[in-house]
Chain length 96, copies 5
Amino acid sequence: MLLGEVVGTVVSTHKDQELEGIKFLLVQYVGSDGKKTPGVVICADAVGAGRGEWVLVAAGSSARQTKLTKDRPVDHVIMAIVDEVELGGQITYRKE
Amino acid sequence: MLLGEVVGTVVSTHKDQELEGIKFLLVQYVGSDGKKTPGVVICADAVGAGRGEWVLVAAGSSARQTKLTKDRPVDHVIMAIVDEVELGGQITYRKE
Amino acid sequence: MLLGEVVGTVVSTHKDQELEGIKFLLVQYVGSDGKKTPGVVICADAVGAGRGEWVLVAAGSSARQTKLTKDRPVDHVIMAIVDEVELGGQITYRKE
Amino acid sequence: MLLGEVVGTVVSTHKDQELEGIKFLLVQYVGSDGKKTPGVVICADAVGAGRGEWVLVAAGSSARQTKLTKDRPVDHVIMAIVDEVELGGQITYRKE
Amino acid sequence: MLLGEVVGTVVSTHKDQELEGIKFLLVQYVGSDGKKTPGVVICADAVGAGRGEWVLVAAGSSARQTKLTKDRPVDHVIMAIVDEVELGGQITYRKE
């Protein structure tokens, strides 16, 4: 999985029927040190993540293993909201 | 998923039999800020996307989860047409 | 899928038994503008592609959805021969 | 698989129900020469790996083939702890 | 598939039970011109490849389609030993 921060949303009304009820969030990947990397990915949200929260993103077929995304054409899913990241004995992120 | 803009088409008459009836569109990836990135990908079109529209592209086995692409040898599918992208409170794209 | 040009062949006699009868072609990826990109990939050939032809390549589990490659350990397949590429209203490739 | 070193942990209490009981470790990829590469990945831990240990990481659907991760939305798993790496006749890593 | 050369081995005694009996080889990717690219990947060996040999490597779920790797948590497999590579009419590699 990769770490990311929720930074926006994508709205689509015209889409494959298998996508009804899925919310798409824009996620920017971050390193464990908290620095954002360039580029974003659009993820189905399986956990009700909020703007500014750090999340874990699973990609590929693994993105279809949540209850929400089963058998649906999505390739990235937010499957966890991060409480804390510890790197080399240092807390580099803690959810407020 | 990644954001992309439909920029062209690919025509093929000699192809695997599992591909009959699938339309291939050239999609150029774009960042959430609207800037196009280099390179293009060829996608099966599951939603009737038009030239210049922004779309969501799902890759890998997830690309085979639409009704159109089930069990077919395609690894990228357009599964949604984007209405609006919001990033950091700003609308960075709105379909005209 | 990605666009590529058939540029060579790979021969292997000692291989997994599931690979019998599969022809391996060297494919160099090209952009829609016709410029070749560095590097090559080895693909199973499901359509009888010839040297110099432009083809579509599907990767991952999608590469196993042709009749030829079903349940076989291949991760890239040529599943279509390209007749024409149109980009921004211009024909950038046409098969001779 | 890729080689990595366990460098930290990620804690999440709010997550998809399929993730209960899975420990997430931060892994930094290393080359066979022992040099760390930039960036980290978050892995489910199927083998009880410890900080500083070198591990093998499997990605994609293969990450769901351990007993721990079966049918769960994880796309990277630590499936082996490395004892020794030999490259070109030289031992480049040996577990202490 | 990608071309690679067998350059080393990885030994692991503490691993997921599904990995028993699998030999891990270090493979360095090479271009069709014979030049090695940076970085290595660890592959399950399904064909008994030897040091210095050129091999084909399949990745992802396709890596689990050999008899050896079925349902096992490996994401790269050596599924063929290369006899010859021909590129643009020139033999760029021939097994000795």
